[in-house]
């Protein structure tokens, strides 16, 4: 039972500041995912919550205690590391029970708690093995088991799935989500994989260069990215961006193509903008594009196709930039074929060309 609050938390290594005064409020029982490119300060932030790194400024609260100066063992948290960090000289049983043993629980209590965790994570057949004799997925489960045995207030995960192969990763993702529904603890989860973030999170925190760019639910950050960075980071394939200008109530692309402007941007008349639209909102005509009342028609030549089964990604050129479009219910498409595409302008995004920030519709 604990909320986590980060208030103006700063981390410096010597004179190098790697986390810049971030603020984050995490609800009790919430699953929050920190996501961002490698080196943006996710692990550092997580390790500050864990107490493995000193904080250089600000306050961290867990529950209603300020924990700035508390050792990790006094914070009632548990953590799953990227390399699992299982104790190689102990069996699975001993690994799971270690924290309780340190806390001087009786052997019968330890056994019961370990048994319970082992059942939740289907580890009962592996109890006498050492970590060296386990597969990657099994080690992963032991690491999670070690984390849940103690019923901590907060779980911290640092890229726990990045050492697993793609199939196992999908499988473990589901297990982690189930685990959260079972234990209902607060979870702070770090990943660089936006799909993992989208699928797991109650709320996503997108970080870049030690700053928080946006906090929101997965759908929220997908549908309303605050800037081009978030827009390109969240969603796959990344959003298409086209340089444009608002002129006479229209969006004029570099080659002069005029698109009807969505309502609310009249105040931005004359401004240079970045026009953003996802592949999902550019489709060849007659291919199941959901009807909208603001459609633009453009003709493009397809340069490359990526068939994915239920859909095919089409690469084409629009106004001098490469764009990706999607074809649902796909039919074979030849390279070099010219098609008429619909762009759903209701679903487009308009960013300030200079700052990259989303322009608010008025």
């Amino acid at each position: 039972m604990a909320q986590v609050h980060l208030k103006n938390v700063v981390k410096k290594y010597g004179s190098l500041e790697v986390v810049h005064a971030i603020n984050l409020d995490i609800e009790d029982g919430e699953f929050v995912v920190l996501v961002g490119p490698s080196g943006c300060g996710k692990s550092t932030t997580l390790r500050m919550i864990a107490g493995l790194e000193d904080i250089s400024g600000g306050d961290i609260e867990i529950g209603d205690r300020v924990v700035n100066d508390l050792a990790p063992r006094d914070r009632n948290i548990s953590m799953v590391f990227q390399n699992y960090a299982l104790y190689p000289h102990m069996t699975v049983q001993e690994n799971l029970g270690f924290s309780l043993k340190i806390a001087k629980f009786s052997q019968s209590e330890i056994d019961a708690a370990v048994q319970n965790a082992a059942e939740i994570l289907s580890l009962t057949d592996l109890m006498d093995r050492k970590p060296g004799a386990l597969s990657g997925g099994q080690r992963q489960r032991v690491a999670m088991g070690r984390a849940i045995v103690r019923h901590p207030d907060v779980f911290l995960f640092d890229e726990p799935l990045s050492n697993l192969d793609a199939k196992l990763r999908t499988q473990m993702r589901v297990e982690i989500k189930k685990l959260h529904q079972k234990v209902k603890s607060t979870i702070v989860y770090v990943t660089h994989d936006q799909i993992e973030a989208m699928t797991l999170a109650d709320r996503i925190v997108i970080m870049r260069d030690g700053h928080i760019e946006q906090i929101g639910t997965p759908l929220d950050v997908f549908e309303h990215p605050v800037n081009t960075f978030v827009a390109s980071f969240i969603g796959s394939p990344p959003m298409n961006f086209l340089e444009a200008q608002i002129d006479g109530g229209k969006i004029i692309l570099q080659d002069g193509t005029a698109l009807t402007m969505p309502a609310g941007y009249a105040a931005n008349e004359g401004q240079k903008v970045t026009f953003g639209v996802r592949a999902d909102n550019i489709m060849p005509q007659n291919h199941a594009m959901p009807a909208g009342n603001n459609m633009a028609l453009v003709e493009m030549e397809v340069s490359l196709t990526e068939p994915l089964g239920t859909e095919t990604l089409l690469f084409a050129e629009l106004a001098g930039s490469e764009v990706q479009a999607k074809m649902l219910n796909p039919r074979p498409v030849q390279n070099g074929e010219r098609l008429t595409f619909e762009i759903s302008l209701d679903k487009c995004h308009i960013f300030d060309a200079q700052t990259g920030n989303a322009l608010k519709a008025q």
Partner: protein, 288 residues
């Protein structure tokens, strides 16, 4: 068909060549040792014979009997030397290991000012030959009044071994992911507990091999000990070997017998910990 036969032949030749090569190498390494063992069991005439007698005519325990016998019959205080050697080697090894663990841990885990300078400095001390230090050491120890004491020799050996144990243990500690100790801290350990309950057991093999090296260095050291010891109160076994020399004669048989007694504990120790030694030398299998 032809090809596979010639390939098989080539394989066989390579195997034989390996075997012969290994045999020669092992002979060069082992024959002096075996020669010592052999000489300790046979009469002096046979030892001195020219050309050498390879196959002994007679084996007996005379040299051992004489060595343990009274002073008049060529006896030396073997048990006292053995005890001195044991006390000095074990104590200096334990101290060098403790310091090495502290130092190696610090070098592997912490950043501090002048870290690499200190590290290089430590290693440079190993570049100075011990004998070159023996005279200055002798003078200082004489002034301090610790010539011919266990304490003096232990001090010298600790100084000699510490850079080495630090270097070895630093190497082993570096291979242990620091997340292990962090996981232990999150699991409720203090830094101290994390070291003793997780990092130490994981590094055990490495530490054991560092210990063996330190022990053998002390056990076999001659140059310094011969300067720093005067009498039976502190003479170690290597120094004791000189008791078999006198003005005009060398008691080769006695010397060999004492040398065999010296080799035995080192062999036994090495066998006892060989599992750790191998694990220590192939350290790095700790991922997981």
């Amino acid at each position: 068909m032809m090809q596979s036969v010639s390939a098989q032949n080539r394989k066989r030749i390579a195997k034989t060549a390996h075997f012969v090569g290994l045999f020669i190498a092992m002979s060069i390494i082992c024959i002096p040792g075996l020669w010592i063992v052999l000489n300790s069991f046979r009469p002096t005439v046979e030892i001195m014979a020219k050309p050498p007698v390879w196959i002994p005519n007679e084996l007996n325990l005379d040299h051992y009997r004489a060595m343990f016998g009274g002073a008049g019959e060529g006896g030396v205080p073997v048990l006292t030397y053995f005890r001195n050697s044991m006390i000095i080697s074990i104590t200096s090894t334990v101290i060098a290991l403790l310091v090495g663990m502290g130092g190696g841990y610090a070098f592997a885990r912490y950043h501090f000012k002048g870290k690499s300078a200190i590290f290089v400095g430590l290693m440079v001390t190993r570049a100075v030959p011990g004998v070159a230090l023996s005279l200055p050491l002798f003078i200082i120890f004489a002034r301090l009044g610790i010539i011919d004491t266990h304490f003096g020799i232990i001090l010298a050996y600790v100084a000699m071994n510490v850079p080495f144990t630090i270097w070895l243990i630093d190497g082993f500690m570096r291979q242990i992911p620091k997340e292990l100790a962090e996981a232990a801290e999150i699991d409720g350990c203090t830094r101290w507990q994390a070291f003793w309950r997780v990092e130490f057991p994981v590094a055990r093999s490495g530490i054991a091999s560092a210990g063996i090296f330190a022990f053998l260095t002390s056990w076999n050291e001659y140059a310094l000990a011969s300067q720093l010891s005067r009498s039976t109160t502190s003479k170690t076994m290597p120094v004791g070997l000189l008791d078999f020399t006198s003005e005009f004669t060398l008691n080769w048989g006695g010397m060999c017998a004492l040398a065999v007694l010296m080799i035995l504990p080192a062999l036994v120790l090495t066998f006892l910990v060989q599992k750790h030694l191998i694990a220590g030398l192939t350290f790095g299998g700790v991922k997981g």
